[in-house]
């Protein structure tokens, strides 16, 4: 960790600057073009920054910037950060560079939970009912995957992936079954839960996800040193006195809850948790105390950038951001899989 200090000292501030700049660009750029200066004016006025109170705004621009694009970008940052951290944490806990909330079934579990809440008609009564169900679904999925994959306390890389795929497909089947019963014409709804996107995200989504995701990331940062121990495997971790099972369940639950809230506000966006921590590990090394905060920032940047790309490719119709992340992530996943296989030989 000492060796990477130098690089990290500059990496964190640089990433924050990139994230802020990217967010501003993502907010001002779109079908309705709003100059950067106006974008800033609108945001500053709403935030009550002194000196901007008296500015008169173009109502159309105001609506687009503040009520459509800005919450979308913020949800993107939150979801990207949350999924990247969940991915980093799961890779650490399973000591497996291929773990990711999407791949091991946590996301589809969360989606299933959310759909169950919708189908039971519980979502209108309380804002937190759906996330509660989603968290339940994600925990159920992770439990299933781990039970299927573990053999004598060990979880081989490939078996974890296969178990994850099985659980994912099972949860997906349950979800689509429920959706069919709910309303067979709501293909859009189905798409939302299965592919994930940031369209139509409002401030309510920001309010729903911000607290849990940010505090989840905070908890993960605090427990980062323990993850460094878990990475070394069961016996090695126990040899230095770690309560492996307790810690694993605890941290995994936090990661699952983060994932559940991310899924609630954006659907199941795949591969963020796989690609981002892996690339960040190349930059800052495997120490989770750095990897987690850096992955959080990079996850935000990655998802917002993918969303801009999704809006940019065919301007008249938006491609869902989940499609873009899958297009980027799936080949990367295959590349990693090959590397892991080679190193296991």
């Amino acid at each position: 960790m000492k060796s990477s200090n130098y690089r990290v000292r500059y990496l964190l501030p640089v990433m924050i600057i990139i994230l802020v700049l990217l967010s501003i660009i993502a907010t001002s750029w779109g079908q309705v073009g709003v100059p950067l200066a106006n974008t800033m004016e609108i945001i500053f006025k709403h935030w009550g920054i002194p000196g901007y109170a008296d500015i008169t705004l173009n109502p159309q621009q105001d609506a687009v910037i503040y009520f459509i694009r800005l919450p979308r970008v913020i949800v993107g940052i939150l979801v990207g950060a949350g999924l990247a951290v969940a991915g980093a944490v799961m890779q650490g806990i399973f000591s497996n560079p291929l773990a990711d909330p999407g791949i091991i079934g946590v996301s589809s579990g969360a989606a299933f939970g959310a759909i169950t809440a919708i189908s039971l008609g519980l979502t209108t009564s309380n804002l937190f009912t759906m996330p509660f169900f989603a968290a339940g679904g994600s925990l159920l999925a992770v439990l299933l995957t781990v039970m299927l994959a573990s053999h004598k306390g060990r979880i081989p890389v490939i078996i974890l992936l296969l178990a994850g795929i099985a659980v994912s497909m099972f949860m997906g089947a349950l979800s689509s079954g429920l959706l069919t019963i709910l309303n067979e014409h709501r293909v859009r709804e189905y798409l939302f839960w299965m592919v994930g996107g940031l369209d139509y995200r409002r401030w309510e989504h920001v309010y729903l996800a911000a607290g849990p995701i940010l505090s989840g990331i905070g908890i993960c940062c605090l427990l980062a040193r323990h993850m460094n121990i878990l990475v070394l495997g069961d016996n090695e971790a126990r040899a230095v006195g770690a309560s492996v099972q307790k810690m694993r369940i605890g941290i995994l639950s936090v990661a699952s809850v983060i994932t559940a809230f991310a899924v609630c506000v954006s659907g199941a966006i795949g591969f963020v948790g796989l690609v981002v921590p892996h690339i960040m590990r190349i930059f800052v090394g495997p120490d989770h105390r750095l990897l987690i905060p850096v992955s959080a920032l990079a996850g935000g940047i990655f998802l917002v950038a993918c969303d801009v790309l999704a809006r940019m490719i065919v301007p008249s119709i938006e491609i869902r951001v989940g499609v873009i992340t899958a297009l980027v992530g799936a080949p990367y996943f295959l590349y990693l899989l090959r590397r892991v296989q080679r190193s296991e030989k």
């Binding site: 060796s3 560079p97 460094n228 090695e236 126990r238 230095v240 006195g241 590990r281």
Partner: protein, 428 residues
């Protein structure tokens, strides 16, 4: 159980699917002991370490540290007392050597604490001790096997425990590094630590460990000083391998010679060897491998042939160094020669102190003479040896061979036949 016992194991058993992997194991270790756990593959050595450490919970029995059962310790408290170095650690991510060594500080830190400067100092000190201080920032996945083992050893030391469990720490290591790890352990035991190490190499175990525990099929076969544990009897029981344990005169250490006992039963055939001056080492070994009943004489003490004879626990007659064979010994030699089924006279150099050996050879029923060089070159008693030798060769049934031919004959198990054939030939 005395106060000085830092570790006691009472009736520990480990059963898996009705199979006893470990059976009623009991022993105690006191401070400063360097205990080697030896035994063949599958004897349960590694399982024993894991059970004692509590990584694999034993099926029955108790493990006490400072007279307190390990079940009363939390994982963290236990890790402050016992460090455990596993056989193979796979690190899936590129942690640096220092990162790995620092994980040894984990039990000493509160959950919210980061490593302090003092922790880093301790880690560095131990890395310097095991000679890997230059690898601080190298990835553990990019160092050599030997360096990796030494990094992991430094990690175990960094845990600063009184007890260290090491599961074959010398696997994959070059000879130099193997010795080094043993030497490190010996040093830390001298400083009051107690080491329990699973060892594969019996010679190194004998050289460095203060005590050995030999496991076989999940039982403690014998527990004691290396000299008392490493005997052919126990090794044969444990390893099902024919061994000869002897003190290597060159190294001064316990050494082990392994061989495969021949198929043919030659134990009823007495072979007497007249040798000395390092002429019969190979012949004795070959005969021993083929299971002959051996006697020998007269060798001079301190002669390498005498050492070989001693190693193989041969019935051997010894004379004082540089002295002529005494009448008494000479008589005993003649008795043994007369009693032997086959007598082998080695390619000896004859001087006043061993000319009696040549004279005694005449008493043999069947004599095989080894001649690698002409007798004239080996006579240092003014022609007397040549005379006796020439007469000896005239005798019935005597055959003359080179060492090579003899060794081949023994290997082919034709020594006895040869004698019979010869006697037939001479009878005709």
């Amino acid at each position: 159980m005395t106060q000085s016992n830092i570790l006691s194991i009472n009736n520990l058993s480990y059963v898996i699917a009705d199979k006893h992997i470990l059976r009623n194991i009991s022993f105690a270790a006191s401070v400063g002991e360097f205990i080697g756990i030896i035994g063949p593959n599958g004897a349960g050595k590694s399982t024993l370490l894991r059970c004692i450490r509590g990584i694999t919970p034993p099926s029955a029995g108790q493990v006490l540290i400072h007279n307190t059962s390990i079940q009363n310790f939390s994982e963290r408290e236990l890790a402050k007392r016992v460090a455990y170095m596993q056989q193979d650690v796979s690190v899936n991510f590129d942690f640096s050597a220092l990162d790995i060594v620092l994980t040894g500080r984990y039990p000493h830190l509160e959950w919210w604490q980061n490593e302090r400067q003092q922790d880093i100092d301790i880690a560095r000190k131990n890395m310097a001790f095991t000679g890997v201080e230059k690898l601080e920032y190298s990835s553990v996945n990019q160092v050599s096997g030997g360096e990796r083992q030494r990094i992991l050893f430094a990690k175990a030391l960094t845990q600063e425990t009184d007890i260290l469990f090491l599961d074959e720490p010398t696997a994959n290591l070059d000879l130099v590094y193997q010795e080094e790890i043993f030497r490190y352990c010996q040093t830390i035991c001298g400083r009051g630590k107690t080491v329990l190490m699973v060892v594969h190499d019996l010679r190194l175990a004998a050289k460095f460990c203060s005590r050995l525990i030999l496991l076989a099929k999940g039982n403690v076969l014998v527990d004691g000083l290396p000299d008392d544990v490493l005997t052919s009897k126990y090794l044969e029981q444990a390893y099902h391998m024919d061994t000869v344990v002897f003190k290597n005169k060159t190294t001064g250490l316990l050494d082990i010679y392994t061989y495969e006992a021949g198929q043919a039963s030659n134990s009823d055939i007495n072979v007497h060897i007249i040798g000395g001056g390092g002429t019969v080492g190979d012949i004795i070994r070959q005969l021993f491998n083929n299971g002959y009943k051996l006697s020998g004489g007269v060798f001079h003490q301190g002669d390498s042939d005498a050492d070989v004879a001693e190693a193989f626990q041969m019935d051997v007659l010894l004379a004082d160094p540089f002295c002529a064979v005494s009448n008494e010994i000479g008589r005993l030699n003649r008795e043994k020669i007369a009693a032997a089924d086959v007598v082998i006279l080695a390619n000896l150099y004859f001087g006043p102190q061993n000319i009696d050996n040549l004279q005694a050879a005449a008493h043999a029923k069947k004599l095989i003479i080894v001649e690698d060089s002409p007798i004239e070159q080996r006579d240092y008693v003014g022609g007397q040896a040549v005379l006796i030798y020439k007469r000896l060769i005239q005798n019935k049934g005597v055959i003359v061979l080179t060492s090579e031919e003899l060794l081949q004959m023994i290997e082919d198990n034709k020594l006895a036949d040869q004698g019979v054939q010869l006697s037939k030939l001479t009878a005709d």
